[in-house]
Amino acid sequence: MNRSLHYVAAEIGVTVEDLNGWIERRWVLPVRAGRNPAFDDADRTRIRMILDFHRDLAIDDEAMPVVLDLIDRLHAARAQLRAILEAVAVLPEPAQTAILRKMQGETEQ
């Protein structure tokens, strides 16, 4: 479900000014339909995460982009790993075994 700026601000407990600032800094990237940003579930949980980081973890505006960038890279890498594992899962059994054996061998070294 898509939500408006004011709805999301009230729902999560962040000021509209802060939220606009985060959008300006590209920490949150809502899609716009017409002029108004529309926040989906990914946007809303991300806003909540930024608020947690800011308020509870004392991550300041200087450090925040570094943290967000690393989290985004982490998820990109995880998505890629998942794609590889899905590709491996459709290989014939001997190929799967060979790959797993090689991976285990490399971690043991």
Binding site: V31, A42, T45, H75
Partner: protein, 306 residues
Amino acid sequence: MNDPYKILGIAKTASADEIKKSYRKLAKQHHPDLNPGSAEAAATFKDISSAYDLLSDPDKRARFDRGEIDASGQERADNSFYRSYAGGPQGARYRSNAGFDPSDIFADMFSRAGQGGGGGFGRGGGDFQEFRMRGGDLSYTLSVDFLEAAKGAQKRLSFPDGRTLDVNVPVGTVTGSVLRLRGQGQPGTGGGPAGDALIEITVEPHALFRREGNNVLVDLPVTLAEAVLGGKINVPTIEGPVSMTVPAGSNTGTRLRLRGRGIAPKGGAAGDQYITLKVMLPKEPDTALSDFIKNWPGREYDVRGT
């Protein structure tokens, strides 16, 4: 929940500042979004934040210390964390925004494989040089209003990267429909085709109109005179007002049909509009009307089947 003091690793006498410090330290370690794959982190974080929730509020803390309340706190749902969406199609725009190109992994892996290095799949074969892969799909949600969905519309979506996309919302689109825009997703790897953009539609409700398939339903107030005597009235339809005759002796709940005035999907038969009448008395009590009813011989008619 266990002892909140133990969970935060602090003494019963800890100051507000010490509580905050300890919470921050633990939260940095266990926040679920900093531990995307770990179920344990989620469980630990729940305990930590409940404990902090209790002890950071002087009033709640005092009541807990006196034994008036126990340590059970508000729990935050698992799906309220970004990590639940970060790996899915909605999170794709953030993953690609990180300046991290997933195809780099392949480039790296397969170039090493090509050189006969031990790092990648295969052994020195050049086959993987030509590795091609289709780009990932990106997923968005789009709200359209009732009339746009009923009559079809073109909507322009603007993406954070400055790209815009014109989306044709077809006539008769319903909530949950997914429009697939070919080639508008993430770029492919090694010359592979781009993925698709998937747009999930939510249709906003309308103040007057409702839908039942391709039929449009409207509740329409009519005056007592229109109901009793019949007459011509203007009825709103999705294409604008239409004149229609109310038969004499109509009642609240009487259902009238405007054939072919519903939703007309391409290549399908148009639906109808159904109008359910609602007889309204005047807003202010009317002496002439009540005098008439008092003297009306037929006023005691059976409506409840008793």
